[in-house]
């Protein structure tokens, strides 16, 4: 799990062009949206692309993103549970 979280942080920084953000800046349990990283609705859609591209997981309903992308940990958990 920790390994996946670490990998995911790198992927998110790359996919979302978070140029000034380092892996260690991202708290595993802090909310991804709103405060913190300051992600927005387009970022949420980009994270859906990331899940599909890097992990082959399709999120059909973007509303599901809210739950999946609560924090890095919930996202990693979702990947672990749904990865093919």
């Amino acid at each position: 799990m920790e390994e996946l979280i670490n990998k995911l942080k790198g992927e998110i920084i790359e996919q979302l062009n978070l140029e000034d953000v380092k892996k260690e800046d991202i708290d595993n349990d802090a909310p991804l949206f709103g405060e913190g990283l300051g992600l927005d609705s387009i970022d949420a859609l980009e994270l859906i692309v990331l899940l599909e591209k890097n992990y082959g997981i399709k999120v059909a309903n973007p509303a599901d993103g809210k739950k999946i992308f609560q924090s890095i940990r919930t996202m990693a958990q979702y990947i672990q549970d749904n990865k093919k």
């Binding site: 979302l16 978070l18 387009i42 980009e46 692309v49």
Partner: protein, 209 residues
């Protein structure tokens, strides 16, 4: 019959140089790429706006040009936000990022269109980025010309001010395609401001050479 309006300030970013009101503020001719140059301007001026990195190159250029234009020329504090217009044009629309988007959908085996790219496949998004940053809410229009049309721009922007549709305007030309870039934005006001150049076709042509 028409009142005189003034170019109160301008910023031009092109050929590895940043020119604000006739002063070369920053130049780096060794930068290997245009995108890197625009980024180095952003870093040089310590502009802190993380969204910058999410923008496509056209918007990055427009954003940095507008930041340096408005840095010491705070029209947003002088006028109501509803009375500031933004009128910008270019030649290549959003063709740079259009090409990127097309690449992501051309290969059926590797089909991952990016919403973060797609949203930039409209040239007026750069007006949106400037508006969001400065909370500007007035008239906004994006035109496409083969090259900067000083006469149309001067006439149209003057008519906006003279008819009371705007009190001030950010106008100009922002083009980015295949590594060549040209950002030229200026402010128009009814008072002379820093530069006090009359906003006419002739003066605009002198300024944009």
């Amino acid at each position: 019959m028409s009142a005189t309006n003034y170019i109160s300030a301008f910023c031009r970013i092109s050929s590895g140089k940043v020119n604000v009101n006739h002063s070369i503020m920053f130049a780096d001719e060794n930068e290997e790429s245009s995108a890197a140059f625009i980024k180095s301007v952003y870093k040089h001026y310590q502009i802190n706006y993380p969204k910058f990195y999410k923008m496509d190159k056209l918007c990055q250029l427009a954003f940095v040009t507008s930041e340096l234009l408005l840095k010491d020329n705070k029209i947003t504090e002088k006028y109501s936000k509803e009375d500031i217009a933004i009128v910008v044009s270019n030649s290549n629309s959003s063709l740079e990022i259009d090409t990127e988007h097309q690449k992501t959908i051309s290969d059926k085996e590797n089909y991952f269109p990016s919403p973060a790219n797609f949203v930039y496949t409209l040239p007026n998004i750069l007006i949106g980025e400037i508006a969001i940053r400065n909370l500007i809410k007035g008239e906004n229009t994006f035109f496409i010309f083969d090259k900067f049309d000083a006469q149309f721009t001067a006439d149209y922007v003057n008519s906006l001010l003279n008819s009371g549709k705007a009190e001030s305007c950010i106008a100009g030309w922002v083009d980015y395609y295949e590594g060549s870039y040209d950002g030229f934005l200026y402010t128009v006001e009814k008072t002379p401001g820093v530069l006090g150049i009359e906003h006419t076709t002739e003066q605009l042509n002198n300024l944009y050479k």
